[in-house]
């Protein structure tokens, strides 16, 4: 595939103050010991209050981020809405599930069941925008948002003009507690993730949406392509997948100005990324992002928002930097993301 997807609008709700258009990591919110909570905006600025009342948190975050992206893009409507979420509307799923368990399948109301469906965010966005076009929801762990990006690139190749893509993830206090009990969370905040000294993730949540277009318009960056690696069995296999992706885009690791790593703080899950880091750090500036958004299925959507911002500002925030390789210009950003050591993706963005 040869065509690019130009990012013409974005919106991001995350544990940082990313909804403030002027924010660029001057201050950084750390984790609440072992997890991150999203900083939620005043939703009524983005969603009709009548609809808002019935919405779960994931829907509010997703619909607001989508609205921000569409507003920034300045488009009337879109030709496709493609959403990604690993857990879907988990709060509503949990609510309905606990009602079943606690009341022995009696006295149930349908609201939380209706909202628990994984495609709820995508369909609510379609309802709000009255968009009767192509509407997909990908629900595959770390590939959920990557699949959206891949689909958008195919859709543009097929002739679609403006496409809304986004990732949404929410957690609940009970879900965090279960992860804690299962010893999957990391509460040791005395090390940087990339030092590879800790075990466990710091769970995060949030939503980032983008309007991508077949035309440059006022875009600051373009998605050149995306590659994936499913359960690579060795560093060699991982590296081969990465290099073959870069080759297909006529570039290599050394030619990329900035490489953003989805290092999670779990040294086992991060193995391939930690091994790639020194190679990338030779010639490229390197950075990381999960200490800002937390680890979750669609953290890659936050990374794309970050990459697009960095290209726009032509500056890497200190909070993101790993190495000190200076770059006068940031023309290309490669995101190397991983999810719990099984789903990896490579996304290349270039400056317009």
């Amino acid at each position: 595939m040869g065509k690019k997807a130009y990012i013409i609008g974005s919106g991001c709700i995350s544990p940082q103050n990313s909804t403030d258009p002027n924010y660029f990591f001057e201050t950084v919110n750390g984790p609440d010991t072992d997890h991150f909570n999203a900083v939620e905006p005043s939703y009524k600025e983005h969603i009709n209050p009548n609809m808002l009342r019935r919405m779960g948190r994931a829907i509010k975050m997703g619909a607001s981020a989508a609205r921000m992206a569409v507003t920034e893009a300045g488009v009337e409507n879109v030709d496709a809405i493609i959403s990604g979420t690993g857990l879907g509307c988990f709060e509503d799923s949990e609510k309905f599930l606990l009602a079943i368990i606690n009341n022995d399948e009696q006295f149930l109301t349908p609201t939380s069941f209706i909202q628990s469906t994984h495609n709820t965010v995508g369909s609510q966005v379609a309802l709000i925008m009255q968009c009767k076009q192509y509407n997909y929801t990908y629900v595959h762990r770390g590939f959920s948002f990557d699949s959206c990006v891949m689909d958008a690139l195919m859709s543009i190749e097929e002739g679609k003009k403006n496409i809304l893509i986004g990732g949404i993830e929410e957690h609940t206090p009970i879900y965090i507690e279960l992860y804690r009990k299962a010893k999957k969370l990391n509460a040791d905040n005395s090390h940087k993730y990339y030092e590879g000294k800790t075990k466990g993730m710091q769970m995060g949540e949030g939503s980032a949406f983008f309007v991508v277009s077949d035309e440059k318009k006022n875009a600051v960056s373009a998605i050149e392509g995306i590659g994936v690696a499913y359960k690579p069995e060795s560093t060699e296999e991982f590296t081969e997948k990465l290099n073959s992706f870069l080759k297909s885009k006529n570039t290599d690791l050394g030619k990329t100005d900035l490489v953003l790593f989805g290092i999670s703080g779990d040294k086992d899950h991060d193995k391939y990324l930690l091994e790639t880091l020194p190679l990338a750090s030779k010639n490229s500036a390197t950075g990381y992002f999960k200490h800002l958004c937390g680890d979750h299925h669609t953290a890659g959507s936050f990374a794309m928002w970050l990459a697009n911002k960095i290209i726009e500002k032509q500056r890497i925030p200190d909070a993101v930097k790993i190495n000190a390789v200076p770059k006068e210009k940031i023309n290309s950003v490669l995101i190397i993301n991983g999810y719990i050591g099984i789903n990896y993706s490579f996304t290349l963005l270039t400056k317009c």
Binding site: M1, I81, G86, L87, G88, S93, E94, F96, L97, L98, I100, I101, N102, D104, E105, L108, T109, P110, F113, I114, Q115, S116, T117, H118, N119, T120, G122, S123, Q124, A126, L127, M129, Q130, C131, K132, Q133, Y134, N135, Y136, T137, Y138, V139, H140, R141, F143, S147, D151, M154, E157, I174, E177, L178, K181, A182, V228, Y230, K231, H297, I342, N343
Partner: protein, 386 residues
């Protein structure tokens, strides 16, 4: 395919040809309502499913087991060797995913911190990865969840990825097992019929839930020729649109459905008159069958092709439904046979449409298969003879 009408495609074909429904009394799902409702259960316990696939790993839940059983059969039937250097993807779909097991343990997980390993298998991607790992698919995996249209969208994505040269072939479909969660969800929506469902009948009361795993293997013409394989059918049209009307209901005008059918037909290059049979979504709910009838009239006018819903055989298998119906559509094409719409007596007065009610021999060259879901998701596929 594994469903209420059989543990493989051959068993399903025999039951379809004998107008024998798989919907009946509840034997496997744990629910306080088990004596009040009928369901389309796969007639095997989890233990028996493990025997069938030859893996007794405790991590496997019913959704994964059904998916593995069905996908293994599909791959074997295709005669494809995954180690031949071609790129193969697995595109699955599910709505229930690991909830079938989470719901049994969540209480104890929360109160006592027990069974925490169940967490790892809760999400939708897990069943897909179990299937991929059992088959040995490495090149690409993803999962789609667009409610009851999911598997049709998996077929569509597979076709597109092959067209774009990203894959040489794809195993596409869906899987959903029965769970208390979905059963109670549909029950609170009051769209379940306690008796056998009656799609397209004036007096229809609702749907029967079912469970299934159903996959088809699609391949590029070049890859098929290279290995000297033989295709069973061709996917010649597909489309996806959104009703943007209501979170759970379809619009009375059938707008989304009409668009999906029209666009799928347009891509196929066929005129409406060339469709020999429509496998309808036909869930048996008042809302779906009204909306789908309207869409059918919108597209076909007075010349409605022969049609039936096969939901009264299998129950509504949600994310797997379009996979089940793709397999049934292929059986229709291969055998020149229409499998009937069971339990029908009285046409819906607004439309007067009468489905095929007996097993019928007819020349079937082209089939339209519809799938619509919550969230306004509407998808149609056009399959044709090779």
């Amino acid at each position: 395919m594994i469903s209420a009408i059989g543990n493989n495609v051959q068993e399903a074909y025999v039951n379809l040809s004998n107008a024998k429904s798989g919907i009946g009394k509840v034997n496997y799902l744990t629910t306080r309502y088990k004596d009040e409702y009928v369901l389309g259960e796969v007639k095997l316990s989890n233990e028996q499913l493990m025997d069938l696939i030859g893996d007794h790993s405790p991590a496997l839940n019913r959704t994964s087991l059904l998916g593995i059983a069905a996908a293994k059969e599909a791959l074997k039937h295709s005669g494809i060797d995954l180690k031949d250097g071609m790129r193969t993807g697995l595109i699955s779909s599910t709505t229930v995913a690991g909830m079938c097991k989470t719901e049994l343990f969540y209480g104890e997980m929360v109160s006592d911190g027990k069974h925490l390993e169940v967490l790892d298998a809760h999400d939708c991607g897990e069943s897909t990865e179990e299937i991929a790992d059992h088959l040995g698919v490495k090149d690409f995996v993803t999962t789609i969840s667009t409610a009851c249209s999911s598997a049709a969208n998996a077929v569509m994505l597979g076709c597109r990825m092959i067209k774009h040269g990203m894959l040489d072939r794809a195993i596409v479909g869906g899987v959903d097992s029965l769970s208390k969660f979905t059963f109670n969800g549909f029950n609170t929506l009051m769209i379940l019929d306690k008796e056998w469902c009656k799609p397209f009948d004036e007096n229809r009361k609702g749907l029967n839930l079912g469970e299934a795993g159903a996959f088809i293997v699609i391949e590029s013409e070049a890859a098929l020729k290279k290995r000297k394989g033989k295709a069973l059918a061709k996917v010649i049209g597909y489309a996806n649109s959104n009703d943007a009307y209501h979170q759970t209901a379809s619009s009375p005008d059938g707008i989304g459905a009409t668009t999906a059918i029209k666009q799928a037909l347009e891509m196929s290059g066929l005129s409406p008159a060339q469709i020999d049979y429509i496998n309808m979504h036909g869930t048996g709910t008042p809302n779906n069958d009204q909306s789908e009838s309207k869409a059918t009239v919108n597209v076909f006018g007075n010349a409605i092709p022969k049609f039936s819903s096969t939901k009264a055989y299998t129950g509504h298998t949600l994310a797997a439904a379009a996979g089940v119906e793709a397999v049934i559509s292929v059986l229709s094409l291969q055998n020149n046979k229409i499998f009937p719409n069971l339990n029908f007596t009285t046409p819906i007065s607004e439309f007067g449409l009468v489905p095929v009610t007996k097993v019928t021999d007819a020349t079937i060259n082209n089939v339209l298969s519809n799938s619509f879901g919550f969230g306004g998701n509407c998808s149609s596929l056009v399959l044709s003879k090779v």
